[in-house]
């Protein structure tokens, strides 16, 4: 036995899980087998009166089930068998005739939480590392080792639904408030408190848990109230997922079934539903995204031996506008770095500081940070009209007006006012980084950091590298982007980079559909139905039509006809209809809220008076415009791998995660089939759909973008 160590003292057995050779504890077959035998021994050992379950890892209790075991599943029956074994084991934790106390320090997630829920008593440390929750739904599955049964029984159906459906991970203090753990203690006394509790439980003491309030009485504790709760939950889920994600629906069913028909029936339902989900395409893609983004987190951003990253502790930002303030505020909030703004005049600096401060204020309001952290972090935001402080900066991000000459001038000045090893980044979305940096003495420290708006919410960062960017600069910018909480992909300095490159044909196609007389609502609804969080037309309004037109010009100049700008869009910009920010775009806005479609748009686009059907299928046109460009761009080496391209599309554009990303989707469709569809579109709609040469070649060679399935 090597996974668990057991010490027995004073009639209390302390069982420590420490999975050898692994950074974290996870529930694998070996763990299950050994725990099963261990429980049998402890059950039979008359000197043992109570058991404490603890972890030997510094930062995790149990991080969850072993995902590799789960991805290896090939059939429903295997999946059902796997989960039933887990259920049986976890059931035993509450049934060896002796109380088991969970002493939780570090991450306690998924299967780990299911195990402690079966224990008689739970004590957690008040350490930031201690996190408790069920992330399963994110992977397209449900907690199926009793999680959908025991959590609602402990904290009520509403609170349990909230955690399970949203795949929440709670800090220890919130788990305590929710009633998931019985006590919250300092790590130094965790063991002592656990021993005391174990002894008292062995002596017959039973914890009394807080009685819930009136709402709980009305909604959780009777069938009628629960019916309301489940109906509401189903409605919310349907609205949020558009019917594309079966896991939350299954979770609701498992919870409801268990509360109606008892634990045993609930467990059986969990197992059956899990078996369906585990081998579904949706779950496969979601797990794929999870693995890819996990791998990306460990990726330094350059191939081969990566040089050490320069630590960024001071950040300079030139241009305290909306983007600059967003970058500064997010950097302070997540990376806790010193941020110095510079702008042309003090009122602009002041506005930027206030906007950045608001990001901290919002985090305080949502209780992500304490009053004291808020105060400390706020002092990291300063600014002025001169270059004071830029000589201290490790990284400078330029976020001024999108104009090559203006940016070049900023970079020339930066070269004079920063140390030679300071990394100089531009937040441009359209201007080639190479052009910005070409006149500088040290272009090797110049790169792009393309954040998306609003910075604090958008999870993606494109780090743009030129031929001359030094690997140390790339590695440092990537590392800092991660500290800012972003998913970072390294992108080659080609027009439009990656995200805008693949987005532009898709948005352009939406514009062309409007020109043909297709209703705007129809277009947006089709893409939402397909799985995007917002439709392409609404997205243009959000981004700003001027930004879109500018980007498409750049792409048109670089790549020619297939990026032909849509006439209606330029006319809209000329009329000052820029989207949400100007109060009028494709949609009307009142008081910051989106109203209906502005019908006058059709006239501007020269659309026929009567609404028309699209040539061919609208969804196919929109999606294939993007897929075809993604194939081309990957072939040009704009992103380093299909993995990066897919993750960037999911995190940068909201490409439906359950479809895995544009390149995974192409793999699923198959190159031959994709080429056939594109050829059909070329004939029906126009030459812009000419299949990417790489797709044609792949169809011939029967190749895929991703090597694994």
């Amino acid at each position: 036995m090597s996974i668990f160590t057991t010490e027995i003292a004073d009639g209390i057995a302390r069982v420590v899980l420490d999975l050898p050779g692994e950074p974290v504890n996870k529930i694998s077959r070996a763990v299950r087998d050994e725990l099963d035998q261990l429980l049998t021994r402890l059950q039979g050992d008359s000197t043992v009166r109570a058991v404490i379950l603890a972890s030997g890892k510094p930062d995790t209790f149990i991080a969850g089930a072993d995902i590799d075991e789960f991805t290896a599943l090939t059939s429903r029956d295997q999946a059902r068998e796997l989960v039933q074994t887990g259920q049986a084991l976890i059931n035993r934790l509450g049934a060896i005739g002796k109380p088991v106390v969970a002493a939780i320090h570090g991450a306690c997630l998924g299967g780990g939480l299911e195990a402690v829920l079966a224990c008689a008593y739970r004590i957690a440390t008040d350490d930031p590392k201690t996190k408790i929750g069920f992330p399963e739904v994110q992977l397209g599955i449900i907690p199926a080792a009793g999680g959908c049964q025991r959590l609602p029984r402990l904290i009520g159906a509403r609170a349990a639904l909230d955690i399970i459906l949203q795949a929440k991970t709670l800090p220890a203090a919130r788990a305590f408030r929710a009633g998931i753990v019985d006590e919250l203690v300092h790590p130094a006394i965790l063991d002592r408190v656990a021993r005391d509790a174990a002894k008292r439980l062995a002596d017959g003491w039973r914890p009394t848990r807080k009685r819930a309030g009136i709402a709980a009485f009305l909604l959780d504790n009777n069938a009628l109230g629960r019916a309301v709760v489940f109906r509401t939950a189903r409605k919310t889920v349907a609205k949020k997922t558009g019917g594309n994600y079966p896991a939350p629906v299954a979770a609701i069913r498992a919870i409801e079934h268990g509360l109606k028909h008892g634990l045993r029936a609930g467990l059986d339902m969990e197992a059956a539903l899990f078996a369906d989900l585990a081998v579904s395409e949706v779950s496969r893609e979601l797990v794929g995204i999870f693995f890819a983004s996990t791998a990306l987190k460990k990726d330094p951003g350059v191939a081969g031996e990566a040089p050490p990253a320069h630590e960024v502790s001071r950040l300079g930002i030139v241009g305290a506008g909306f983007m600059g303030a967003g970058i500064g505020g997010t950097a302070v909030a997540h990376a806790h770095v010193d941020v110095r703004f510079r702008d042309a005049d003090l009122p602009h600096v002041g506005n930027g500081l206030r906007a950045a401060q608001k990001i901290l204020d919002d985090r305080r309001k949502r209780r992500r940070i304490t009053k004291y952290e808020h105060q400390r972090l706020s002092a990291l935001l300063t600014g002025g009209v001169d270059w004071a402080g830029f000589g201290r900066a490790d990284l400078v991000v330029e976020a001024v007006f999108e104009d090559l000459d203006v940016k070049r001038d900023v970079f020339r000045q930066l070269e004079a006012h920063t140390r030679p090893e300071t990394i100089l980044a531009s937040n441009t979305s359209t201007i080639p980084i190479g052009k910005i940096g070409e006149a500088l003495e040290r272009p090797e420290r110049v790169l792009g950091m393309h954040f998306f708006s609003p910075v604090e919410k958008m999870p993606l960062l494109e780090v743009i590298v030129t031929e001359r960017t030094a690997p140390w600069a790339t590695v440092s910018a990537v590392a800092f982007g991660k500290r800012m909480g972003k998913t970072v992909v390294v992108v080659r300095d080609r027009p439009g980079f990656w995200v805008n490159r693949i987005l532009a044909p898709y948005l352009g196609e939406a514009g062309r559909l409007v020109t043909e007389g297709v209703k705007i609502e129809t277009i947006d609804a089709a893409m939402k139905h397909w799985g995007f969080p917002v439709g392409p037309i609404a997205l243009m309004d959000e981004v700003g039509l001027d930004v879109g037109v500018k980007a498409s010009k750049v792409l048109h100049d670089a790549f020619g006809d297939r990026f032909e700008p849509v006439g209606g869009l330029s006319k809209m910009v000329a009329e000052g209809r820029l989207g949400r920010k100007s109060g009028r775009g494709f949609y009307r806005y009142a008081g910051g809220k989106k109203q209906g479609v502005d019908e006058s748009v059709y006239k501007i686009f020269g659309a026929p008076a009567e609404s028309a059907k699209p040539i061919g299928d609208a969804t196919t046109r929109l999606i294939f415009a993007m897929l075809n460009e993604a194939a081309r761009a990957l072939d040009e080496g704009v992103v380093r791998s299909a993995r990066d391209g897919d993750i960037a599309a999911v995190f940068g554009i909201g490409f439906p995660p359950f479809r895995g990303g544009p390149l995974r989707l192409l793999d699923a469709i198959g190159a031959a089939e994709a080429v056939a569809t594109l050829e059909q579109l070329t004939r029906d709609v126009g030459p812009r759909f000419t299949p990417a040469p790489v797709l044609v070649q792949m169809a011939k060679d029967n190749r895929r973008f991703h090597t694994s399935t």
Binding site: L346, G350, L380
Partner: protein, 432 residues
């Protein structure tokens, strides 16, 4: 060259301050701690300082908040610094920031520190109001009371007037005499006229206005972005470009309505603000790549009986500091004299120039020296610029040092009067 036991010279590297604004105006929503942190934060950026090199901090504050009694420590806990910089707050009334600078100076001189940030702050918009003595006793009693009976008994003693708060007064605890009353008394005893006082005030405003207009004063000011929004504050808001002797003459005396001469116009106003100065051991400064502006040549403190002429301390401290510097008043190319009241400025000057003062108070045969008004407060003084008690000393040091460099003046003098009958003086020497 500085007279010193071990030859360690203390350099002023630079400094900055917030705008000084009349209490209850644009800075009213910022605490003294916030003001001091802002000034220090900007000091870090302007001098591109690595927070890790700072050894200690000292700050002056006269009316501390009950919630953050050690202001200096709150400043040294700015995230730009490691959390391990010890810091102390000091109170020598209007000379508090000077005293903070001197404490830092001494630690550097003694070899206990190489880099010190010193300064001061005051928010007279944010003064602590106290419960009355009876009210506090009752509240403390209630928190200790064990039974309902005890509590009721305490509450029964409550009177409505117990709710009247107590505000800190700007009065001498030993005499009950307010600052203004003292200045009024000094004006009478020294025969200082209303006209002479108003002329000092007018010069203060005119010179401060010129210093603001030509950017010399604003160069040392760090802009403040008021938390609630509104325009950035970039200069002192008490300076009046348009004032005149006629306008000032219309004001009524405040402290003696009938025979008095001290008015709101010839006194310094209640003010919010903060200042921060970067001090370094000479050799350390050069090692870190900093160019000193001035060195501290000498300093002195002194006190007189507060019941006599409260604000005459400088006339004792200045000759002491000059003597320690091995210099005379004639050697001084610039003088920064704190203007609590024009009456005090003129009384101090009178004493400097008086043979009688020298003989009776200093035991010398010759007066301290003539004060050349052309080199006195060349960018105005506290009457125009304002006077946040704890911060003024930092302003005087920064302004004097910068102006000495601009003019190439070899020696400069700081003179400050303070509550309690105290005086402070410092001699600065231009770095070569």
């Amino acid at each position: 060259m500085s007279v010193s036991g071990n030859g360690r010279r203390v350099a002023v590297i630079g400094g900055c301050r917030t705008p000084f604004c009349k209490a209850g105006t644009v800075l009213k929503d910022l605490t003294a701690v916030a003001l001091a942190r802002h000034a220090t934060n900007e000091l870090v950026h302007r001098y591109e300082l690595d927070g890790g090199v700072v050894d200690e901090m000292y700050f002056g504050q006269v009316v501390p908040s009950l919630l953050a009694p050690n202001l200096a420590r709150e400043v040294s806990l700015l995230p730009q610094f490691p959390r391990t910089i010890p810091a102390a707050s000091v109170n020598r009334a209007c000379a508090s920031a000077n005293t903070a600078i001197v404490l830092g100076h001494d630690q550097i001189r003694l070899g206990n520190a190489d880099v010190v940030i010193a300064g001061g702050a005051e928010s007279l918009s944010d003064i602590p109001l106290l419960h009355s003595r009876r009210m506090s006793e009752m509240l403390v009693g209630l928190s200790k009371a064990r039974s309902l009976g005890e509590r009721l008994k305490l509450l029964a003693g409550f009177r409505l007037r117990d709710l009247t708060p107590v505000a800190p007064a700007i009065a001498e605890p030993s005499t009950g005499e307010s600052m203004g009353q003292s200045a009024e008394k000094m004006a009478k005893m020294n025969g200082i006229t209303r006209e002479a006082q108003d002329e000092v005030a007018l010069a203060s405003h005119q010179r401060a206005h010129a210093g603001t207009a030509d950017g010399r004063l604003t160069a040392e000011i760090v802009p403040i972005f008021p938390p609630g929004g509104g325009a950035p504050v970039t200069s002192d808001n008490g300076i009046r470009a348009d004032t005149s002797l006629e306008q000032m003459a219309r004001l009524k005396p405040v402290f003696d309505r009938k025979y008095g001469t001290v008015t709101a116009a010839n006194s310094s106003p209640l003010t919010d603000g903060a200042s921060a100065v970067l001090l370094m051991h000479d050799a350390k400064a050069r090692a870190l790549g900093y160019e000193p502006i001035v060195y501290v040549r000498s300093y002195a403190v002194a006190a007189v009986d507060p019941g006599w002429q409260l604000l005459m301390g400088p006339a004792i401290a200045v000759p002491k500091a000059l003597e320690r510097a091995g210099l005379t008043l004639k050697d001084m190319g610039l003088i920064e004299m704190h203007e609590a009241f024009a009456a005090q400025v003129l009384s101090n000057i009178q004493a400097f120039e008086s043979k009688q003062w020298a003989e009776e108070r200093l035991g010398r045969s010759e007066p301290i020296g003539e004060v050349n008004r052309d080199i006195l407060n060349v960018m105005g003084g506290s009457i125009a610029i304002g006077h946040p008690f704890g911060a003024t000393g930092g302003r005087l040091t920064i302004t004097l040092a910068n102006e000495m460099r601009r003019r190439g003046v070899q020696f400069g003098l700081i003179s400050v009067c303070a509550q309690g009958g105290m005086g402070f003086a410092m001699v600065l020497e231009l770095a070569a």
